[in-house]
Symmetry: C2
């Protein structure tokens, strides 16, 4: 049994060193591998399968609200990137530049897209002429590049996968509605599919997207109490439209600028899955997103009839669940460890005694609960167990998060909490960037968002004591 | 009616100017738009939906034969690209080079992947240690960049979308089997899904992939008689393994080099769809790949009950087909033209008289045949019509192709046929690259492949008259 445990023992415990625990899980669960291209990773089959499930589910949800997929070039000419002032300031310092094509130097440098607002605007400027051409609700699934100095698997890498939606509308109201609709779509996806509870809110001006009028965000709390910005939706107003000259003739026969939005989520969400649900045995995946939902593990598989029965169970369940069987020559204990490390929601243990009794043992990955189930009830029972696991995981994550959100009305309290307790702090803010900067400097916490659900905790800014405008959620963040 | 025809009339006829016809279709069917990034295109929603259907179908077929998806970085360090001699010679002249990251010059240039053999090899070198780690059958869906001088939508652009599979095997036999399996998968996909007949064969050494031992290809004939290489599958032997040091310990406890393959198809296939099936009214899509299979077009939609009935028909059919309704304010004639231009397989015309008779008129896009169908039989009848259309399109394309394949035993004949008749020529070849070069110089035709189905047309090379080794298919190509 000692040998069986080796693989698990090799993981650092979460409490001991959370960062190392994360890296261990990412490697041991075979999600990612480092490459000789600094800051870029290989997403391995298991990691990619998780992303693929996310993408397929999100894409289905997008299509149900009239999003159309397109593909834009990966290169942006330098002059195009420079058209919107705030945007170029935000991104130019962190892009990769192509200067040669084949053996020739280029006449104009091209950057590898860090995001594609400028390309979509350049396209919309000609594609949109009349109100009949509106709205445009386009999205693309692609990779983008940002030349980060320090990188971490899934959380921050020089290249990452994402979707970016870019829309154009006839009115400001419609643009705002789309911005919120997409944020709501992200929030529902995170809670229903990933079992990750999120806080919806608006970013402060300091934290908003380069070129946006308003940035909305969903913020999730990781196991170590840190925040992960898990998706954003931006309302650009007509700022980009004016910079790029995107006008249309409306029913009034006059020229108007369009109103635009953009919104995205990335492979960061895989990082969120790990850090919200994982434990000291490895990854724990909610059943809906899990590439494999059920692992059948024969016990004493050399015994007469065991392997056949296990195959049969696998076959029957495959019609309803994503099932695999581990019939390798490893010991059952080793197989259990591997299944746990990979976060497969349940395993089915099936040995000679179980078969004799016409039953098997179902083990939940999240609670380690062992449930003896009659084989002829297995299908229904499994559906129940997986359903319960999905909702339990969301509830547990929500409870844990809510227990780690503290209110602070005095600055000393604020600093003490941030300093000593993992989690978020709710505190009032005057709306002045100086206070935001001071808080960041004093505590390294940043404003995560002004949540949509506001509550007046006090009348004074927690930092300067002047009249407060908004309740803000503060926290250290990835 | 004159106005209704305008849109169609704006297309150049195929016979008049095939290249212009192609460009017209690509634009008018709203597949693609040019961008301010030279040689790069926007794939618009309709064009992308076609690619998405191809990708989903192919991906399903891949997964059924144990292919796993991954994601590799888009950048390749210059030193990595240079590791395999033939490979770097083939690709270095046509890659885009990143020289700066953010504000800093890079220590080593990175190229944007033109293909990812080198990255997969770099990964496999560590990931593969034992025979237990084999085979690796990985694939990725991504975009690649090749700095082409002249570009055409879908057929040749500086950036294009594709899938690239990269595998590693314990034995040469297994690698060869996988190479052929993937070629067969491509061929079946083209014929069954895209209704495009292809010729399977092996490339000559001159035409094979940079670094491959053998390249297999599927070649399709376009409406103008030119060839389009529609997919390739390469067997690398252990050449890359030796260059990158990819070794494993086999059951014999000795170190062996792996045997590798790679294989890919691209958005070129959208170009093939256009040029195999299109006509002077625009695109014609086989039902299986069509984003919209049925367009319901109400006639006299202002008349009492017409629009409601049309909606109802659409609703019912939606459970079984991909259906849209065109209830815009355009005239029916205009709507017909648009549906034809976009190649939607069938339209359903439904007016007051049809409703009175309890029927509607189904019009096939490929034959323009009008079929009166009772509304209560519509669902079954439509399935029949779409099924017939799918197989008729394949058969027609096959007939047209076969009628344009000529045999030549004398060089004068060969030259005359290539010069005067669109299509392919079958002729014997001695295996000498000098003859291949001479033929290309004299006629601008290239060797498309040595088809798997060989036939001895004569005993002499059509060019030099020496002893022939293979029958080769020759043709002008995209």
């Amino acid at each position: 049994m000692a040998k069986d445990k080796k693989m698990v023992e090799a993981i650092t415990s979460m409490d001991e060193d959370f960062a190392q625990w994360y890296t261990d899980v990412v490697k041991k669960a075979e999600l990612i591998e480092y490459t000789s291209v600094k800051g870029c990773m290989v997403i391995k089959p298991y990691g990619y399968a998780i992303w693929e499930n996310m993408r397929n589910e999100l894409d289905k949800r997008f299509k149900a609200i009239d999003v159309e997929n397109v593909y834009m070039p990966m290169f942006i000419p330098e002059s195009l990137l420079q058209k919107e002032k705030d945007h170029v300031e935000g991104f130019a310092p962190e892009v990769a530049w192509v200067t040669h094509g084949g053996l020739e130097p280029l006449q104009e440098r091209l950057c590898v897209r860090p995001t594609s607002e400028t390309l979509f605007c350049d396209f919309y400027k000609d594609a949109i002429q009349s109100y009949r051409d509106l709205p445009k609700v386009y999205n693309q699934w692609c990779s983008v590049v940002r030349w980060e100095k320090t990188t971490r698997p899934f959380l921050r890498s020089r290249e990452f996968l994402w979707q970016e939606g870019h829309t154009a509308h006839a009115t400001a109201e419609e643009a705002e509605q789309r911005t919120i609709l997409m944020l709501d779509t992200y929030a529902a996806f995170c809670e229903e599919f990933l079992a990750i509870p999120v806080i919806k809110g608006r970013k402060t001006d300091k934290e908003k997207f380069a070129g946006a009028e308003a940035t909305y965000t969903i913020e999730a709390m990781m196991h170590d109490g840190k925040a992960l910005q898990s998706g954003t939706s931006h309302n650009f107003g007509d700022g980009f439209a004016k910079a790029f000259g995107i006008q249309f003739t409306d029913r009034d026969n006059k020229l108007h600028y369009v109103h635009q939005t953009s919104w995205g989520v990335t492979t960061r969400l895989v990082g969120a899955l790990i850090m919200v649900h994982g434990d000291d045995d490895g990854l724990v995946l909610p059943p809906r997103v899990a590439p494999t939902q059920v692992m059948v593990i024969p016990v004493r598989q050399d015994a007469d009839g065991v392997l056949n029965k296990a195959m049969e169970v696998k076959q029957i369940l495959s019609k309803h669940f994503r099932v695999k069987i581990d019939d390798s020559e490893k010991s059952p204990g080793w197989k259990f460890s591997e299944q746990e490390m990979r976060g497969i929601p349940v395993r089915i243990e099936l040995g000679p005694k179980d078969i004799e009794n016409g039953s098997c043992v179902v083990v939940r990955r999240d609670t380690h609960e062992k449930i003896t189930v009659a084989l002829d009830e297995l299908q229904n029972k499994l559906a129940e167990i997986l359903g319960a696991m999905q909702s339990d995981m969301l509830e547990r994550a929500r409870l844990r998060r809510d227990e780690s959100i503290y209110d602070a009305t005095e600055y000393d309290d604020f600093k003490r909490i941030i300093d000593t307790k993992p989690g978020f702090v709710r505190a009032m803010w005057c709306g002045n960037e100086a206070c935001e900067n001071k808080i960041k400097e004093d505590t390294s916490a940043t404003s995560r968002c002004m949540p949509f659900e506001q509550e007046i905790i006090s009348k004074k800014c927690v930092c300067c004591g002047k009249e407060a405008k908004n309740m803000v959620i503060w926290g250290k963040a990835y």
